[in-house]
């Protein structure tokens, strides 16, 4: 029976950290800690001596881990850099998912792989959710602007809603732009022209 792994997840956003931790819990009974603070990171890591550290590839605090990875004095525990030569596919998947892992020296690849696989899957899921959320938000905002632009046209030209939308759409097509862009410009111009 292998001993429990000590895994640290460095992630300031709790909404993002939670699903990753859930994913890691599913693969086994490991000791998982989340660090969200940037200050004192090196000290905290040195204190809890994890087997694996997972962190966003773009997190500025990664450069602190690079330093820890180099510190391998007799009393320090080396955190070897992951980018396992033997598993290029996994490395690539991790980079694409935006995740980097620092693994203690000497940990067997078959113990690392499930952890990485789970983390990669959760990172992907989170990225997708975030993209969907952003898309939904944009769509909602665009619809609001189009509604306001229609109202401006209806009032200014005395036309009905359908005609107002048709006019916006025709203008957009003539200009080679999106309806939302034309609507935005119209709302902006109407705002400038209206004096109170």
């Amino acid at each position: 029976m292998d001993k429990r792994l000590s895994i640290v997840v460095i992630e300031p956003d709790p909404e993002r950290a939670a699903p990753i931790v859930d994913g890691l819990r599913e693969i086994g009974d490991h000791e998982i800690r989340i660090f969200s603070e940037e200050t004192g990171l090196a000290r905290h890591i040195a204190e809890c001596r994890p087997d694996i550290v997972l962190i966003d590839l773009a997190n500025p605090s990664r450069d602190i881990l690079e330093e820890l990875a180099l510190a391998s004095g007799p009393t320090e525990r080396p955190v070897a850099m992951f980018v396992d030569r033997s598993d290029e596919h996994l490395t690539r998947a991790a980079v694409e998912a935006g995740i980097s892992a620092y693994v203690v020296d000497g940990l067997r690849p078959d113990r690392i792989k499930p952890v990485l696989d789970a983390a990669v899957a959760r990172f992907h899921m989170f990225q997708r959710m975030r993209a969907e959320l952003a898309a939904t938000r944009t769509a909602l905002e665009e619809r609001k602007v189009i509604d306001r632009a229609k109202a401006v046209l209806m009032k200014a030209r005395g036309i009905d809603e359908e005609a107002a939308y048709a006019l916006l759409r025709k203008t957009a097509m003539d200009q080679g732009k999106r309806v939302a862009e034309i609507a935005q410009q119209l709302v902006l111009a109407a705002g400038l022209l209206s004096c109170r």
Binding site: D56, A58, S61, D63, E66, V83, T91, V95, S100
Partner: protein, 388 residues
């Protein structure tokens, strides 16, 4: 003709300007390239994405490809520095309590004399003294070790990595007593009221190479045309940047939301060399605070690779002689000559030299006629001789 897309990584600092301006001023398009610029959160990210082929080239700390060559990083394809992007741009900052002690002891903060500042610091510094730097392999690390040991610090100071955007917070929290970082992060700490600037990097070493354009060796081999086009576009942006009257414009452009996303006034300080050194508003002018082109800045001297390699090797218990040999192969003077000759770059006759030997600018023999090399002396007169 459609433009060929190239993806470049940069870390938000004033010396990312050559990449940003090559795109914004059309130097890239003139070479048939469309730059996609990806902002990087960490130096390790730039290195890893370059290694994985997600980006085609990176704005990178000049010692990073040296460290890779010495095996002090993850296993990645060979990374080469094809040209130097900038010299200088760093500043040494100390905490407000430490600055107050220096003032009480009569230090004048001339922002120029590295020996005087170093000795003042030695007298005022606490027993335990920590300095923040942006990365374990950076010009900042070399500047700090060189400066403090030459100023007679008995104990090696503790040099720790702190991501530049977090430098001010680390200082405010008392985690570091001083730091050496690229602009605009030193000015940002002054602006936040937590630091006073003690020296510019160029006061310690007159021409410290700071960032390089780094690419994968297999890419430069497989795509010589693209590599040349990329180098020429960035080289022209570097030349444009070294016209003093362009620096304000450069500060405006790089500060835009899609790039550094900071007030232009902050980027302007480093780019124009007019720095506010303390929260009290004291100003100091350093005309050569950061250089992008003039005086042979862009040439990737193999002797610079050797200098970094020797120092890194000594600190990490590696054989310095072997390290120098390895590292020199990663500073690509051959590509520089091949791709920039036709663009009109001045090319020195040699590819390695004594580093630190020029107390003043000097005219030397070039491939064609003469060229002027910028003064590159260390403040203590140290000279580094590469081994051939």
């Amino acid at each position: 003709m459609p433009l060929t897309p190239l993806t470049l990584g940069y870390v938000p600092l004033i010396d990312a300007a050559p990449l940003i301006l090559a795109r914004e001023l059309g130097f890239a398009a003139e070479e048939g390239l469309e730059f996609r610029l990806l902002r990087q959160g960490a130096w390790a990210q730039a290195r890893d994405l370059l290694g994985a082929g997600v980006i085609d080239a990176a704005h990178m700390l000049a010692p990073m490809p040296v460290a890779q060559a010495l095996g002090l990083g993850p296993a990645l394809p060979d990374l080469d520095l094809v040209m130097v992007l900038s010299q200088g741009g760093q500043a040494v900052a100390i905490s407000q309590p430490l600055a107050a002690r220096l003032r009480d002891n009569g230090h004048d903060f001339d922002f120029r004399d590295a020996r005087k500042a170093g000795e003042a610091l030695r007298h005022a510094a606490p027993g335990r003294f920590r300095i923040g730097v942006p990365f374990p392999f950076s010009t900042q690390v070399e500047l700090m070790h060189h400066w403090l040991s030459a100023c007679g610090f008995a104990q090696e100071p503790e040099v720790v990595t702190v991501p530049p955007p977090l430098m001010a917070a680390a200082m405010a929290a008392g985690e570091v007593d001083a730091f050496c970082v690229g602009e605009p992060w030193a000015s940002s700490a002054v602006e936040q009221g937590v630091a006073t600037l003690l020296l510019p990097g160029v006061a310690i070493w007159a021409a410290p190479p700071e960032k390089g354009l780094v690419m994968r060796r297999d890419f430069t081999r497989a795509q010589p045309e693209l590599t040349g086009a990329l180098m020429r576009a960035i080289w022209r942006a570097c030349r444009w940047l070294d016209e003093a009257e362009n620096r304000d414009t450069a500060a405006e452009i790089i500060s835009r939301r899609e790039y550094l996303d900071l007030p232009p006034e902050l980027a302007e300080r480093g780019l124009t060399g007019r720095l506010q050194i303390s929260p009290m508003g004291e100003m100091r002018a350093v005309p050569d605070f950061v250089s992008f082109h003039r005086g042979g800045v862009n040439f990737p001297w193999k002797s610079l690779a050797a200098l970094f390699a020797q120092r890194i090797a000594r600190r990490h218990g590696l054989d310095p002689v072997l390290a120098m040999d390895r590292a020199m192969a990663h500073f690509r003077t051959d590509l520089y000559r091949m791709h920039l000759r036709e663009a009109g770059a001045a090319l020195p006759g040699a590819s390695a030299r004594l580093e630190g030997a020029l107390a003043v600018d000097r005219e030397v023999a070039a491939e064609k006629g003469q060229m002027i090399l910028r003064a590159d002396a260390f403040f203590d007169g140290a000279v580094f001789e590469p081994r051939f």
